[in-house]
Symmetry: D2
Subunit: 148 residues, 4 copies
Amino acid sequence: MSLTEDQQWLNVRLRRNHFCKWLDLRVIRAADGEIDIFAPWREEIVSNPDLRFTHGGVLATLVDTAASFAIATRLGRPPQTIDMRVDYHAMAQSGDLVARGKILRLGRTIGSAEAAIFDTANRMVSSGRATFLVVESKPSATNAAGTG
Amino acid sequence: MSLTEDQQWLNVRLRRNHFCKWLDLRVIRAADGEIDIFAPWREEIVSNPDLRFTHGGVLATLVDTAASFAIATRLGRPPQTIDMRVDYHAMAQSGDLVARGKILRLGRTIGSAEAAIFDTANRMVSSGRATFLVVESKPSATNAAGTG
Amino acid sequence: MSLTEDQQWLNVRLRRNHFCKWLDLRVIRAADGEIDIFAPWREEIVSNPDLRFTHGGVLATLVDTAASFAIATRLGRPPQTIDMRVDYHAMAQSGDLVARGKILRLGRTIGSAEAAIFDTANRMVSSGRATFLVVESKPSATNAAGTG
Amino acid sequence: MSLTEDQQWLNVRLRRNHFCKWLDLRVIRAADGEIDIFAPWREEIVSNPDLRFTHGGVLATLVDTAASFAIATRLGRPPQTIDMRVDYHAMAQSGDLVARGKILRLGRTIGSAEAAIFDTANRMVSSGRATFLVVESKPSATNAAGTG
């Protein structure tokens, strides 16, 4: 864990999220517009039990979370996800993963960020990008939902 | 549950998947190229604990799963996901969800399907589409991973 | 051409766009949240000269335009595209095309719409969806660009 | 133009494509898995005639073409596009553009590549990624179409 004292809030914020907490995600590095998130292996995230690779929905969660928290490093909070694309490059076999997120463009209303997921052999198993609503809005007034 | 005896394998296949089992997903309707999957509420899928809506990664899992199993109704097995797009239309607040998947195009090598997710008020909270590798391939020879 | 007098502005607006005019696109049907756009064949939109199918970029233009003008039927103007996904289902061989757009969700800030493209044999050759910024914004203040 | 003699085929291949020729696209740099393509301004690619920015469909064409030709540097030919995502980051105002493509993953059946488009001020106006079918297939047997 190499977060500065000023960056600890990212981890606190991440783990207030029930699903991220269940996945036991942890922010392990943060910089301006960039984030690394660690995802430990757990048996419940297996997809096909014979081939034993990680479920694509869990990889999508990591892309969404890393992209969202890359924006959080600059915005001060994770924004709402509007839409997301995820590419599956290779089977992510049983083992810990690291998701690296990076801002593509942060505007006043809309932001976008990309993320890539690496296995313990540092092979990119999945990557993707998402669009976020960065303007603060009342829950009832929004028309998008996401990681926030 | 309105599956015919011939359709029971879809549910058996779905629930062999550890992550789908943990989410307690169930196939509740199947037809040629179409599927409805039920996702019961559980506290661990909450995203923001104050606003209490469902995590975008769980919705992405439902899009992936419903799209994949729509293809399974015709292919006889869920195919591997190559890539996926998910749109978040509205916050999915605490409550059960239904994901409806439908084939867009099923070719010999590649297939695509779309899915939409509805809350208990039958409001579409999320939708998306995915591309799948439908040719059977040895795990070591593939370059895509997914729900299979 | 089956546009009512009240719908003629859609065609006028579409054809003010230089690229849509060069492609000779025409709105042939409009309803609340829905639009049909006709794209006549022209030799310059061929991709591979041996196989003679329509370039994927032209099909992407049709998805963008039909999705954008589906929103225009309700918004009164085409919105700015934030991002888009296009799926290529089959080769679109030399011949006229029709693109059908439909709103998925229209919020106050963000909207999304889908579109499908059909050849003269009514085969779906391509389809996709896009996210739009629907709030009116000064050009200098925006962070997205598109069909508008 | 800084192509070696061995790389000239990329430009010849690109310009056999009618739509790329009409857009007057030119390969200006190529390396293993990477390509830079130059797109000169022309009046017909204007979208909104008042704001005078480049049409999103033309930017999508550049993303598709740069991603496809990034794969061509290794494959020896541009592959067929299966699907594509394009993000519009800023309005691309009148002026020349450069599209830079880069392979994300090249497998035996499927490949993926990303591309970003820069204006004359070197500002990233758009970016995206696409999935390609890289196995050679008879036109009649394929179920995807694209830049090839």
